[in-house]
């Protein structure tokens, strides 16, 4: 009796182990499959982007929704980013008696790193989830199939316009966010000090260089591209009914945000190689 129960226990634990191993294998295989499909999806984008017809009106509409509609959110984030970074950096610099370096230090950290990354994260949260959910619900309700039947290329109309507008709008949003963050930093400096507007900006531009601005701007194009591409891929390939809509939106944001950090790390490595 005892030996029987032991055998059953062993059988159950072996089965559980096999199940968990299988699920790990499945998710690992799924991960690599996803990478392959995403690469194919991106290649299809580059194949089709230059082919007519061009959906210019849809591109403008998406740019308005993705770019202009994100402006208030990005502006508020940018302002708080500049203000908080200045307030937090002051005590450390004050210890060395180097408070006059505050504008330059905040400017370099915002322009080089914090501005592009934080704006891209906010962008991934707002736009990535939106695109993921929208395309997934279109897929689930078979609107994408209907488009194909009616002779419209859904990839061109839905994916290319969104990816292009996201790639073009994120750099603009970053420029606006950086500018507003500098204004926030100016207010932050003046909370406990007395620095004129002109002196603040002359100190900011004194320390900024083209090597700070251009790599930071170039990487934002890649951020915008990857966010929209991942979101479109997740939405376009959603096939689990209504449950899949939520999952697509969620994974679009998570993978999109992760891709920002990975791209940022690569960008920093490349920049440090050349500059």
């Amino acid at each position: 009796m005892t030996s029987d129960s032991k055998t059953i226990d062993n059988k159950v634990s072996t089965e559980t182990n096999t199940d968990s191993e299988n699920s790990y294998k499945k998710s690992l295989v799924g991960f690599f499959e996803d990478i392959t499909l995403l690469t194919k999806f991106s290649l299809r984008f580059f194949k089709e982007v230059f082919k007519p017809p061009y959906e210019f009106n849809e591109l403008v509409r998406q740019s308005y929704l993705i770019g202009y509609k994100s402006f208030p959110l990005v502006a508020i984030t940018g302002f708080i980013m500049g203000l908080v970074l200045t307030i937090q950096s002051r005590p450390t610099l004050a210890e060395f008696g180097a408070e006059s370096w505050l504008p330059a230090m905040v400017a370099v950290s915002i322009i080089r790193e914090i501005g592009p990354v934080i704006t891209a994260l906010i962008f991934a949260g707002k736009v990535g989830s939106g695109i993921g959910a929208e395309l997934a619900s279109m897929k689930v309700t078979e609107q994408i199939d209907a488009m194909e039947v009616s002779g419209i290329n859904p990839f061109k109309f839905l994916v290319i316009t969104r990816v292009l507008s996201s790639t073009l709008m994120l750099p603009l949003l970053v420029i606006v966010a950086d500018t507003i963050a500098m204004y926030g930093a100016y207010i932050g400096v003046n909370l406990k000090g007395d620095v004129t507007f002109q002196l603040f900006f002359s100190q900011v531009f004194e320390k900024l260089d083209f090597s700070d601005v251009f790599p930071a701007m170039i990487k934002t194009f890649f951020f915008g591209f990857s966010i929209a591409m991942i979101s479109c891929y997740k939405g376009y390939n959603s096939n689990k009914g209504t449950e899949g809509v939520g999952e697509s939106a969620n994974s679009a944001v998570v993978i999109g945000s992760l891709s920002i950090f990975i791209l940022d790390m690569i960008a920093v490595q490349i920049t440090s190689l050349f500059l």
């Binding site: 308005y64 770019g67 202009y68 603009l172 531009f205 260089d209 083209f210 601005v213």
Partner: protein, 234 residues
Amino acid sequence: MKKTSGNKIRLGIFVSAGIVLFIVGIYFIGERQQMFSKTFNISGIFKDISGLQIGNNVRFSGINVGVISDIQQVTDSTVKVDMLIDEDSRKFIKKNAKAIIGSDGLMGNKLVIITPGEPGKPMLADNDCIATAQPVSMDEILMKIKVTSTNAAEITGDLSSIIKNIRDGKGTIGKLFMDSVFADNIDKTLVNIKQGAGGFKQNMNAASHNFLLRGFFKKKKKDKDKEKDEKNKN
């Protein structure tokens, strides 16, 4: 339809504002690097540039007038530094001006400081080579500090042996401070001097009443009174 065109206008404004902000930023950064202003080129030959880099500032009379545009090693002990200088400053920089490598504050970036030449001399021409002076490097300062501190250590050693001698009552100063017999002698000497001074005063009093010297003392008294009257009048 109206809504669509309104959206397009808003998007257009947003895109234009973003591009304008970017161009303004680029302009200000470029202006600092003398990209959009008229400039002329000069160069200087240095033995050691102490970590100067391309893009560092060139300062004249405390004003940033240019940037370092190129740095080239010419021989094993000479480095050629090219500088782009603002055209507006050309009239102030004379042929015999000198360039020195300094730094912006204690921890700041390296920069080239141009000292003004003598007035009346001709202005620098394009691609001129400016005279240079070797800066005092941090290593040299540290070497000097090392010599000074060695000297200071020797001096304090000497001082401590002198103080030890004084404590032991050796030498004149040691005796003065530490020897009680010596102090008694000085005390007695002072008493003797005091007595001697009293006797001398008596002798002088007697001399002033002597008929041979009375005239001299009277004359002296008159001169003194006269001087006093003049002082009162003034």
